[in-house]
């Protein structure tokens, strides 16, 4: 597997949203904004650049629109691939390790001495 971890935070966010089901670009951007509590505002150009890069790396792929949204023919949907799922998991574990180490070490709540 090409060296993908660590991911950029935007990549992890895209994988996180798509792990819940296929989305089209616009909804993807809104959802990323929502999950980050409005802190990550994603501009369309940036988002598509990331999607393009990730589809090149086979982390995501284009998907057929879900049955409920068939009339919206103009929109392209994206879904996570198996590799994407594995990579997201790996990244999450990696972050977890770092965070655990941080919180248990240098960033441990200070004790008054």
């Amino acid at each position: 597997m090409p060296q993908r971890v660590p991911l950029k935070s935007i990549e992890l966010l895209v994988l996180a949203v798509l792990a819940d089901g296929p989305q089209h670009g616009y909804a993807l951007a809104r959802e990323i904004e929502r999950r980050s509590g409005g802190r990550s505002r994603v501009r369309p150009g940036d988002l598509y650049r990331v999607l393009y890069r990730m589809s090149r790396a086979s982390l995501v792929e284009q998907a057929a629109a879900p049955a409920a949204a068939r009339h919206e023919t103009r929109r392209t949907y994206y879904r996570i691939t198996a590799l994407g799922r594995r990579t997201a998991r790996e990244e999450a574990l990696y972050l977890q390790k770092i965070c655990a180490a941080l919180l248990g070490g240098a960033l441990r709540p200070e004790r008054s001495s």
């Binding site: 089209h24 670009g25 616009y26 369309p44 940036d46 393009y52 090149r56 929109r75």
Partner: protein
């Protein structure tokens, strides 16, 4: 939706699609439509919204597009991502450390590249200013020069009737103008009368060139008619010089040639046409009612092509008009005269002559740059191969090969950029020095200045050269298998192919250096031969000065003759003067003046076509003053006055041509033609030939007439001193004593005129000598480097041999033999290339053959000697070799 809203929407869609063009093609295929939808779904409705959101879209899409390209590039190269690999910035820092730690290595590279790029940038600067940059006129590619073509004249002057016909008939021309150079005397000012160099031009002149005055106006058609109130347009320089740039002078009057003239306007400083020193433009005042003779070819003509018309179309049309002339006026355009109309781009007329020499110099500069690049490449190769252990270690720790190559390329590029940056002051200095040295014909000094393009050129070329050299070195040196290089830690492994490659580089350097040396040698040969040419006159101790007597103070020919006689008499009365005289056109001054004539008893091979030769009008003791020898007969004397029989003196070449095998003294001829109403003139003497047009020209057939029998307003006074002493001051004083309002100009020694006539070949020689010197130094450095490396690399082997009883002197000879074999290969290669190169070069060098054995032998000898020394210095180390130390070393 309102129509306006719909329009905004359409433009919005176009804008988004334009921005999407910045993405890679595969992105556009897969995703662009979807991305565009997102923007289009939410189109702005008003112009204000459009501007704000349009800018926001650009801020989003432009970096995203570039980013997508970068992603593609990284993916394609398998380039490590920023976080994983450490950035280019780190490579630059590391590279700088390496360069600082090896000052001899980096210093050699940086300095040799600085020298070479400085030379190249300076020549490029001249090349660019002269040949690349457009003339300072709008749409200059539409400007043409129109001339008359005759046998022996490719682009001669035009007569006024011809000009008027072209103006009336030519449809392919937008506008057309005639002009001629004039001189004028400006009386105003504290410095006394000043002689101005000017141009008499038609009012259309400024339209053709499409220039506007900086102040005031140019003159109108009405002012260009005969009898109109006199007006003048001033050059910026004259305005600054005489009026301190006072804008209120526009509309004021000045005294020019004893007439009151209104200053109509001031041209901008960039406008210097027809000559760089043109001070003033006066109306030419063509009179269509009496335009003068059709055969009086005395005006220059320029024109602007109609928009959409082409040079070929203009040529076709004007040639057809010219054929019409020949049908209508056969006596003016006799058959066999070679008559035709010549239409040339104006740029070609102005700089066509120097294109060849400048290209040659640029090629020479690029040779030097190539040598420096080859040199640096060799050094980088050696350096990189010495670091094989380092690379192997890094590879073992997981660095990809690409990563290592990038490291070396970055290092080389840093060195190259440093060299280029240091080359800039070199170029700047050279250009500043050249400002004085570049012959005016070779450049337009006002644009020969330091300019960002030169910077881009220097940095680009050296960066590229060094980067490419480094890349090659790196590919070579990083071809390591981790274990192997770590174990041996030696430069031996793979070193042979590197050494061989370096040897090839050095041989190439030597070959190029030899080419440059031969070029410089041919140029030197050419210039020395040129200066050895006998001009046909005795230049030492001669001072010249030009005068132009205005018709206002000297109304008749008799007045001018009297003035010049008094002037020459008063000069000859001075004790320091040996002889004094005057002539209408001085040899080697770059000007000429011809006349037709008829020779009694001579039948022209082309019926109707009269003989033509250079014509000179002389006063006083001109021939003795300039040292032109009398061959037969006598010189002009005081007895040849206007009432005496008309006389003429001919040059040897003219005598041979029109009186072959006969003594011309006593024979008769007429000016213009045998049918002319003028008097017969008797040949009284033959004088020696002079090379009027230049030392590289032929002996010019010349006809000499006394000014007493054909008066002239403008003459060049020629004074020969008894000893080596310039007499400009004396001439000035004597002129002032006769007429305080009369300025003199072009005060120069005859030797100065000769030097000017050879300025361009001498300039080329100077530049070539500099290039050849630089090439020689760089090639020596290359040989030295390769030899030093070879000796150092074989220390152990040599040590073993010495320990086994070999004589160090024998070993040294052995090593040197190898070096000289390399040098010989380079010399052979250079000699092989020199033959075709020299055949190209001799076109620019007067009087040399492509095969000049002395030049070839000399150049090869010098280079061989330098290579020998460069071999010997490192090889001498063998003599001091301590076998035990050498064996311990590794």
């Amino acid at each position: 939706m309102t129509p306006a809203g719909r329009r905004v929407r359409r433009v919005w869609s176009l804008w988004i699609r334009l921005l999407l063009r910045g993405f890679p093609p595969s992105f556009r295929q897969e995703m662009a439509a979807d991305l565009a939808n997102q923007y289009e779904a939410d189109a702005p409705r008003t112009t204000v919204q459009f501007v704000l959101r349009g800018a926001a879209a650009a801020v989003d899409l432009v970096p995203a597009g570039l980013g997508a390209w970068m992603d593609d590039l990284r993916a394609g190269l398998n380039w490590p991502r920023g976080r994983a690999g450490g950035g280019v910035a780190a490579d630059v820092r590391y590279g700088c450390r390496i360069l600082v730690r090896h000052p001899a290595y980096s210093g050699t590279i940086v300095l040799s590249l600085a020298l070479a790029s400085g030379l190249a940038a300076a020549v490029f600067g001249i090349f660019d200013a002269t040949l690349v940059r457009p003339l300072p006129f709008p749409d200059e590619h539409r400007l043409v020069s129109i001339g008359s073509r005759w046998t022996n004249f490719a682009h001669a002057s035009v007569s006024i009737p011809e000009y008027l016909d072209y103006r009336r008939l030519a449809r392919s021309l937008d506008s057309i103008a005639a002009y001629r150079s004039v001189s004028a005397t400006l009386a105003e000012g504290h410095a006394g009368p000043e002689r101005l160099s000017g141009a008499a031009v038609t009012a259309s002149f400024f339209d053709v060139l499409d220039v506007q005055p900086a102040l005031g106006r140019v003159f109108s058609d009405v002012e260009d008619r005969p009898g109109a109130e006199p007006v003048a347009v001033f050059a910026h320089g004259l305005w600054q010089r005489r009026f301190g740039g006072d804008p209120s002078v526009v509309g004021r009057t000045v005294r020019i040639d004893d007439r009151t003239v209104t200053i109509a306007g001031i041209m901008p400083p960039s406008f210097r046409f027809p000559a760089a020193d043109t001070d003033i433009w006066l109306p030419l005042r063509v009179n269509p009612a009496s335009p003068g003779g059709r055969g009086a070819h005395t005006r220059r003509v320029i024109a602007r092509l109609r928009a959409g018309s082409t040079l070929d179309a203009a040529r076709d049309e004007l040639s057809a008009i010219g054929r019409g002339f020949a049908r209508e006026f056969p006596e003016d355009y006799p058959e066999g005269s070679g008559w035709g109309v010549s239409v040339e781009p104006l740029r070609e007329r102005l700089v066509g002559d120097v294109r060849g020499p400048l290209r040659m110099l640029l090629a020479a500069a690029i040779f030097v740059l190539l040598i420096a690049a080859a040199n640096s490449s060799g050094l980088m190769l050696a350096n990189a191969s010495e670091r094989r252990a380092e690379f192997a270690a890094r590879a073992a720790l997981g660095a990809s090969r690409l990563r290592l190559v990038r490291q070396v390329v970055v290092e080389s590029t840093v060195a190259g950029a440093l060299g280029g940056a240091l080359g800039l002051p070199v170029a700047e200095l050279l250009l500043r020095g050249l400002h004085a040295g570049v012959p005016p014909a070779l450049s337009r000094p006002e644009v020969l200045a330091f300019d960002p393009r030169v910077l881009v050129f220097a940095l680009g070329v050296t960066g590229l050269a060094a980067g490419a050299a480094g890349a090659y070195a790196a590919m070579h040196a990083t071809r390591v298998r981790a274990g192997e290089a770590l174990r041996s830690g030696a430069r031996a492994a793979g070193g042979r192919s590197l050494r061989r490659f370096r040897a090839v580089l050095v041989a190439g350097e030597l070959a190029l250096a030899l080419l440059l040396l031969i070029g410089a040698g041919l140029s030197f040969r050419s210039v020395t031969r040129l200066l050895d040419v006998d001009p046909g006159l005795e230049a030492s101790n001669v001072t010249t000065a030009r005068l132009s007597l205005p018709s206002t103070r000297y109304a008749t020919g008799r007045d001018t003759v009297t003035f010049y006689r008094h002037l020459i008499d008063s000069l000859e009365a001075a004790p320091e003067v040996a002889h004094a005289g005057a002539v209408s056109v001085l040899p080697l001054s770059g000007s000429d003046s011809d006349a037709n004539f008829g020779v009694e008893g001579y039948v022209s091979p082309v019926p109707g076509q009269n003989p033509n030769a250079q014509a000179r009008f002389v006063a006083g003791d001109y021939f003795r003053a300039l040292g032109i020898p009398l061959v037969r007969g006598r010189l002009f004397t005081g007895a040849d006055h206007s009432d005496a029989p008309f006389v003429v003196i001919v040059s040897g070449a003219l005598a041979r041509k029109y009186w072959p095998g006969v003594d011309p003294v006593g024979r008769r001829m007429k000016l213009w033609s045998l049918d002319d109403d003028g008097p017969w003139r008797t040949v009284v003497g033959i004088v020696g030939d002079v090379r009027h047009a230049g030392l590289d020209g032929d002996e010019t057939p010349i006809l000499y007439l006394p000014v007493t029998q054909y008066s002239q307003r403008t003459l060049t006074v020629v004074v020969r001193a008894n000893r080596d002493e310039p007499l400009g001051r004396l001439v000035q004083d004597r002129v002032r004593a006769l007429d305080p309002a009369q300025p003199i100009y072009d005060v120069r020694t005859m030797e100065d005129w000769i030097a000017r006539s050879t300025a361009q070949p001498r300039f080329s020689l100077g530049m070539l000598v500099v290039f050849a010197g630089a090439a020689l130094a760089l090639a020596a450095l290359g040989v030295y480097g390769v030899m030093a490396y070879m000796v150092a690399g074989q220390t152990r082997e040599l040590g073993v041999r010495v320990a086994l009883g070999a004589q160090p002197a024998d070993l040294m000879r052995l090593v040197m033999a190898r070096g000289m074999l390399l040098a010989s290969a380079g010399l052979a290669l250079g000699l092989a290339g020199a033959w075709p190169a020299a055949r190209y070069l001799v076109a620019f060098f007067h009087g040399v053959e492509p095969l000049e054995p002395a030049v070839y032998a000399g150049a090869a000898g010098v280079l061989g000697l330098v290579a020998l020394v460069a071999c010997a210095v490192p090889a001498r180390r063998i003599l001091r070799l301590d076998p035990t130390a050498a064996l311990r070393a590794e």
